[in-house]
């Protein structure tokens, strides 16, 4: 069978890059599944799932320059963290609250990703508080004339908050180099979108802030990547912010403490399960001849081995020194 590779559909990505995106999605999925398993076995505390969101996360984060561009992620963004450069060990150290947890040293809940060298900024749990920070980092980049952009990630729930509106508005006024990525999964925990807003697509709000907003299929990693590349280009060219609304679905309950059967039908979940971005992308890669049965299996094996190894090692790592709980309330000055 002859394979036609359409450069327009793969946005000039090399085969290696195309496979890398599938690898990151698989890795994120495997790390999430592993955490849920460990939680059920009583070996870990609680989990927050980003399963189903991988295409939005990998597609957008693949368009960034790690360590240069600023990432303000939220708790579903495990695939963003992994794509920018965190490792399964980094993620699991947070999950097990180990001493060497790079995100927080065991202080923040799992899935609150942070990595200074990668410019993934520590976040909190109140929804949308990170978005003004993304705007502020972009403001600093603009004032200092740095070639850096800032990305704010959030779910559809965040779009109801005051911080969201205030941030969009501020970024619009100052034409800041920031991209707003809405991972629209149709639920704020249990509250469906129709009870959150009276509009179908939140992207139309961007017009009210004076910059473009676009609604895309968040389960198509290449469409996401292509859209993000354009938004990043605009930001870097000084043309201002973009709001990307990527429609996707949370395949799992909100957290390990949530029972989504109370608010979603199984039919709905199955409907979206059939659109699983990992399955869709694997099919796409096979169609264009980048993956075959063997290389796909190798990729899966590699991911599973990596997560197995990370779990075994990290679980054995030391916990924090109890007295360290008193440290870092304030910046400890040199010599102090």
């Amino acid at each position: 069978m002859t394979v036609t590779r359409e450069a327009t559909k793969t946005f000039g990505l090399t085969e290696k890059q195309l496979v890398e995106m599938q690898y990151k999605m698989l890795l994120a999925r495997a790390v999430s599944v592993r955490q849920r398993m460990l939680q059920r076995m009583g070996r870990g505390p609680m989990t927050f799932s980003g399963e189903g969101h991988e295409a939005v996360q990998v597609g957008t984060a693949s368009a960034l320059r790690p360590g240069t561009d600023w990432v303000f992620a939220y708790y579903r963004d495990v695939a963003v963290a992994l794509t920018v450069g965190m490792t399964p060990r980094d993620i699991l150290r947070g999950f097990f609250a180990r001493r060497d947890d790079v995100s927080s040293g065991g202080r923040n809940m799992p899935s609150h990703f942070s990595h200074r060298d990668l410019r993934i900024v520590s976040g909190s749990a109140p929804i949308c508080t990170q978005v003004p920070h993304a705007v502020g980092a972009a403001l600093a980049a603009k004032l200092r004339r740095l070639d850096e952009i800032s990305v704010a990630y959030f779910g559809d729930g965040a779009t109801s908050t005051g911080d969201w509106h205030e941030s969009m508005n501020f970024a619009g006024v100052h034409k800041l180099p920031v991209v707003f990525v809405c991972e629209h999964n149709n639920y704020a925990i249990s509250v469906p979108w129709r009870k959150q807003a009276a509009i179908e697509n939140v992207a139309i709000r961007a017009a009210g802030y004076g910059f473009p907003g676009v609604t895309i299929n968040g389960n198509d990693v290449l469409e996401v990547y292509g859209t993000m590349t354009e938004a990043v280009k605009r930001a870097r060219a000084g043309e201002g912010p973009t709001l990307i609304e990527a429609k996707t679905y949370r395949l799992m309950p909100h957290s390990s403490d949530d029972d989504d059967r109370r608010y979603r039908t199984r039919e709905e979940v199955e409907h979206w399960g059939a659109k699983d971005p990992l399955v869709a992308y694997a099919r796409q890669l096979r169609e264009i001849g980048v993956l075959d049965e063997k290389s796909e299996k190798d990729l899966n094996d590699r991911v599973n081995a990596e997560v197995d190894e990370a779990t075994d090692e990290v679980e054995q790592e030391p916990t924090p020194d109890p007295a360290s709980a008193l440290r870092h309330v304030f910046v400890e000055r040199e010599g102090a």
Binding site: F72, N108, S122, T129, H133, G136, L143, G162, V331
Partner: protein, 327 residues
């Protein structure tokens, strides 16, 4: 050395710091026009609109954007027009600015200063009069300063701007133009967390801060003259961290403690001072640890007759000193 008002001293501190370090910016509502109290008069002409930035009317975003900018090499001074309007930014201050360093195990920090006029006694009604220091003194990770004099304002604001932690800098608005004081033209700082003994005394220790310092000094002078009671007045100047050592040392000397603050009495910062004295100086006490503060009604009603009825003043403080001295 020139005599200056407090608002001039605040302006000088910011102006000199912004001249010294180009990473420092001022952002807030109306700051481009000099601000409603004229603290940034002439800043746009000197520093441009980028460094004296008018923002949309959105306090949470002013603080949130300041936090974000501080992560990327800017040192922001965020001005909130009145302390009463800082409440929309409470989440950004408490959940974000205060906790960022701790929750990231010391890897991120946000060196921002949040300036805001606070306090009553200016006929400002329930939304231009509040004292907010107790909210923030309760939160680990924040430093909280209360100034009510030109000299302290300049020295402490410089320290706040240079501090690598988030600092809430509260300027008592009644003191902005109420009086002048000699303020050095040259650069100086006052350490955060250091109280000042305003007058030495041997019978009673009076612990206070903000505008109440001025009322307390007046009351102490009256008592000295009329009753011969010797009152040691301590101005905390900083409520977080606060100068426990200085306060305890004085109480151990006098055996009596009177705490005066403008805020509502329940849960006001003076309650913390009282508890500390009761616990750490119990053996030295020769009378009840006493508080003079505003009653628990929203501060403050607009009518000056109502407002004056509520607020502590030199007479109420003098009466409390007399009562305590009688033990």
């Amino acid at each position: 050395m020139a005599e200056k008002t407090m608002v001039e001293a605040v302006r000088d501190a910011m102006f000199e710091e912004m001249k010294r370090d180009e990473r420092i910016i001022l952002m807030g509502e109306d700051v481009g026009q000099g601000g409603v109290f004229r603290a940034s008069e002439g800043f746009v002409a000197e520093f441009g609109e980028d460094r004296c930035m008018d923002t949309p009317l959105a306090e949470s975003c002013i603080v949130g954007a300041a936090i974000g900018a501080s992560l990327n090499g800017i040192i922001p001074i965020a001005e909130l027009q009145f302390a009463d309007f800082s409440h929309p930014a409470f989440d950004q201050i408490v959940s974000e600015a205060a906790r960022l360093h701790y929750r990231s195990d010391g890897t991120w920090s946000c060196p921002i200063t949040i300036r805001t006029p606070y306090g009553s006694g200016i006929h400002g009604g329930p939304y231009h009069s509040q004292s907010i220091e107790a909210f923030y003194a309760h939160v680990p990770g924040l430093k909280v300063i209360c100034v009510a004099s030109p000299y302290d304002a300049k020295g402490l604001l410089k320290s706040a701007i240079r501090d690598p932690n988030p600092v809430i800098f509260l300027e008592h608005k009644k003191a902005y133009r109420a009086f002048r004081q000699e303020v050095p033209d040259e650069d100086y700082t006052i350490p955060i967390g250091e109280a000042e003994v305003k007058s030495e005394g041997s019978d009673i220790t009076l612990i206070t801060y903000g505008m109440m310092t001025h009322h307390s000094i007046k009351a102490a002078e009256t008592l000295e003259q009329e009753d011969g009671t010797s009152v040691e007045v301590i101005d905390l100047r900083t409520v977080s961290p606060w100068d426990k050592e200085r306060v305890l040392e004085s109480v151990k000397k006098t055996g009596k403690a009177l705490i005066v603050y403008e805020d509502n009495i329940t849960g006001g910062f003076g309650a913390e001072v009282a508890a500390t004295i009761a616990q750490d100086a119990f053996d030295f006490l020769d009378g009840p640890v006493t508080r003079v503060a505003s009653p628990d009604v929203p501060i403050s009603p607009y009518s000056s007759i109502l407002e004056e009825y509520i607020l502590p003043n030199p007479e109420k403080i003098a009466e409390a000193i007399r009562k305590l001295a009688a033990y």
